[in-house]
């Protein structure tokens, strides 16, 4: 296990690495601008957006938010345990993080199935075009995040002493990015209109 001392106060070494933070900023900019465009379109069709928003299940959206928040908490705990050289605890928290992500995907799958069954597909109206594009793009990020976490878990399981703190932190930053994106999507798509 490689625990080099990182000077986080240095501008080039934010927790997770500078490259990961550039990606995070680009992703947040992309999703943020898309949400602003969605809000702009809602001014042109306020009734359509309001009625469509009511067709979404706020309880599922809230549960998904809670799942990602709790999963993010476990990820932070996993990184902290890794830094304390407690590999077993780190692995346990990582497993819980992955489980939270899988539950998120299962709930999202249920929601998508429900919408498709009701005929609310991507071409239904402007609101649902945004809903499908933004949430599906987010789901892809969650899937990629889960693959990254799974690979970190496998490395920890195989040879914890070869795992670098930079890799663990970068994976954690990617997972938290999924959380941050959802924290922008949830209020705008499920609550605002």
């Amino acid at each position: 296990m490689e625990l080099t001392k990182i000077d986080y106060k240095n501008i080039y070494y934010p927790p997770g690495g500078i490259l990961m933070w550039i990606i995070i900023f680009l992703e947040l900019l992309t999703f943020g601008m898309a949400l602003c465009v969605m809000a702009f379109y809602s001014k042109e069709e306020p009734e359509v957006f309001h009625n469509s928003r009511l067709l979404l299940n706020t309880t599922i959206g809230t549960l998904n938010t809670l799942l990602l928040i709790v999963s993010g908490y476990f990820m932070a705990q996993s990184v902290a345990s890794f830094k304390q050289r407690n590999i077993e605890k780190s692995k346990l928290f990582l497993k819980l993080t992955i489980f939270g992500g899988l539950l998120f995907l299962a709930l999202k799958g249920f929601e998508y199935y429900d919408k498709i069954e009701a005929g609310l597909s991507i071409g239904y109206n402007t609101f649902f075009s945004f809903y499908w594009m933004l949430t599906a793009f987010h789901v892809i990020h969650v899937l990629v995040g889960l693959v990254i976490l799974w690979s970190i878990f496998r490395t920890l399981k195989k040879d914890a002493y070869k795992t670098k703190i930079e890799d663990v932190e970068a994976s954690a930053a990617f997972w938290h990015m999924c959380d941050l994106i959802w924290l922008l999507l949830f209020p705008v798509i499920y609550l605002l209109f």
Partner: protein, 79 residues
């Protein structure tokens, strides 16, 4: 550190439930502002405490807060 993180988790859960409850009420500018405000608080909670941005250089802290301020203001103005 562990205790702070657990407190932040509890706050984030509380804020999420609060925003869901607030959205059930009448849609006024106050409600919209409150929903966006609560989202901003949750975003800060995750980025500063779970991502440990609070330990990072002031440039990164300032950048994320500016980005957040930019989008929340834009959303309030547009809506």
């Amino acid at each position: 550190m562990h205790k702070t993180r657990s407190i932040v988790l509890a706050l984030l859960i509380g804020l999420t439930l609060l925003s869901a409850m607030v959205s059930n009420g009448a849609k006024t500018y106050t409600t919209l502002g409150l929903i966006i405000g609560l989202a901003v608080l949750k975003f800060i909670g995750v980025s500063f405490h779970f991502m440990e941005l609070k330990r990072a250089n002031v440039f990164w802290k300032g950048s994320i807060l500016m980005l957040l301020a930019l989008f929340s203001t834009a959303l309030i103005i547009i809506i």
